[in-house]
């Protein structure tokens, strides 16, 4: 069952988030509404790269998730971002 667990997705999201911000102890509840465009673009690119590069068990495939700058409109708190990636992830086997 190699779809990412929510805990794995959380790790991927927080790793990307640390590029643009220092995180509180409970980052899942952190509001997502003060990001400037530069923060959003850097975070989104890092997040998409991290998803693609996350090692797939056994190899031969990679993870992906369709995200855009509009995705931020759906994310009130960091947990919303984690949930969206978790629910919309796909596996591409080449």
């Amino acid at each position: 069952m190699p779809l990412l667990t929510r805990e794995q997705v959380k790790g991927i999201v927080l790793e990307a988030l640390t590029i643009i911000a220092d995180l509180p102890d409970d980052p899942e509840e952190a509001p997502f509404d003060q990001l400037q465009e530069a923060h959003k673009r850097i975070f989104l690119t890092a997040l998409a790269d991290n998803i693609n590069q996350y090692p797939y068990p056994g190899g031969g495939c990679y993870y992906d998730a369709p995200l855009t700058m509009d995705s931020f409109d759906n994310w009130t708190i960091v947990a919303d971002c984690i949930d969206e990636v978790f629910e919309n992830q796909v596996v591409v086997c080449e």
């Binding site: 003060q34 465009e37 673009r41 693609n52 700058m69 086997c93």
Partner: protein, 418 residues
């Protein structure tokens, strides 16, 4: 020998024959077109299966590549100049075709009736699925069913194409915002109203998408833009109007040093055009580590890293009442949002600059203009009540200005949907 080969052949074919007999033919729940505009620009055609608790075996196409559905792009009229790539992806309950290597032509023609490009399945969609991590059932969607679904329910109307291109544009360059404010009367003066505006747009949207085979095409995108602070008090020394007919922009976000690099060519003036110049301005913008922490230990807020820009501007100054001259400015821009405890915030913006001209900077001083905004959010809204203090010398008229502005900050272009 022949018997042995026949045995091997039968063993290879048998699972497929058995699967074809066992596979349950399912009717898809829905089909949709999902956009991706982040590290890549792609379109996902997602077929959702009629599952309740079941999930797809996402390893199935890796372990059984021969069962991976074949898809192709059919086109009416001319062959597309740049052929898109097609990949099959599996989600928990979706089979997706990811269309990549997009160009403006592909986006414009995709699913169009005239001269259009359409997606078609050339084989049935076979998959394995199950519940509770036990994948013991085989399913199938016939290619006839899938292609009928694409023909009947998949659409990419003009407004969605525009939305997709806008998503790509915002991924590269997007600083559009409008702020309104009220400036209280000072001494015997009148109350004045201020409008701060930043707006940019791209000239050629085709530059947002690049064919992978088109290696000679530059990653530089060309925009036009306007930046201003206007006031009902036209003589306010902090006012400015900057018009840039040419902005060359490039960026790299997926590196240890993410940055934006901009070259702006245009005209800068104060509101009444007594100070004016033609300028060429190059700047690099990046993030730097946080400098302070004013949150409490229980705070749940992100401490966003400050945005720092370094630049150099060459200009031809032909202001009213002076002999025109050429010179330059080195400058530093900063934006820092500092969360304070749980609900308050301080926003610091700064432009520190050094002008090389003896006409504008006879004392050879480093000058700056800055603002400090202290505010609090109105719960449940996108509004922020704030008091903004602006001070310093404008980099256009070099005159000391100071203002306290009361008002609402309202980012009209990036409000959250509530």
């Amino acid at each position: 020998m022949i018997t042995k080969r026949l045995f091997v052949l039968i063993m290879m074919v048998l699972p497929h024959i058995l699967m074809a007999q066992q596979a349950e033919v399912l009717i898809p729940k829905s089909i949709g077109l999902i956009k991706k505009a982040s590290n890549k620009a792609e379109l996902f055609v997602a077929i959702t299966l009629p599952f309740t608790d079941e999930k797809l075996d996402v390893d199935y196409y890796r372990d059984h590549p021969n069962d991976k559905p074949l898809v192709s792009l059919a086109y009416k009229g001319e062959k597309p100049k740049c052929l898109p790539t097609l990949k099959i992806a599996t989600g928990a309950n979706t089979i997706n075709v990811i269309i990549g290597n997009l160009t403006e032509e592909t986006v414009d023609r995709f699913l169009e009736k005239e001269n259009g490009l359409s997606l078609q399945f050339d084989t049935d969609i076979r998959f394995k699925y199950g519940s509770n991590n036990v994948y013991d059932r085989y399913g199938m969607i016939t290619k006839t069913e899938a292609n009928q679904l694409i023909a009947d329910q998949l659409a990419f109307p003009a407004d969605e194409r525009t939305k997709f291109m806008t998503m790509l544009n915002t991924m590269y360059y997007y600083k559009n915002k409008v702020d309104f404010g009220v400036q209280p009367a000072q001494d015997s003066g009148k109350v004045s109203y201020t409008l701060s505006l930043d707006f940019q747009n791209i000239y050629k949207k085709s530059s947002l998408l690049k064919c992978e085979t088109d290696s000679g095409k530059s990653g530089i995108k060309v925009y036009y833009g306007l930046s201003s602070r206007l006031s009902t008090n036209a003589k306010d020394t902090l006012n400015f109007l900057k018009v840039y007919p040419l902005i060359f922009h490039t960026s790299k976000y997926n590196s240890a040093f993410p940055y934006d690099l901009d070259l702006k060519i245009g005209h800068e003036s104060n509101q009444v055009f007594t100070n004016r110049r033609v300028s060429a301005d190059i700047a690099i913008t990046t993030l730097i580590p946080n400098l302070v922490d004013l949150t409490s230990t229980e705070s749940k807020r992100l401490r966003l890293k400050p945005i720092l820009g370094l630049g150099f501007k060459g200009y031809y100054d032909y202001s009213k009442g002076i002999n025109a001259f050429m010179s330059g400015q080195a400058y530093l821009n900063a934006y820092y949002y500092i969360p304070v405890y749980d609900r308050y915030a301080i926003i610091i913006t700064d432009k520190t600059f050094y002008d090389f001209s003896k006409e504008r900077n006879p004392k050879r001083k480093v000058m700056s203009t800055y603002s400090v905004t202290v505010g609090t959010e109105i719960p449940g809204t996108s509004f922020k009540v704030m008091v903004k203090y602006e001070d310093g010398k404008s980099d256009i008229n070099y005159t000391e200005g100071r203002a306290v502005v009361l008002g609402l900050i309202m980012n009209l272009f990036s409000q959250k949907a509530k």
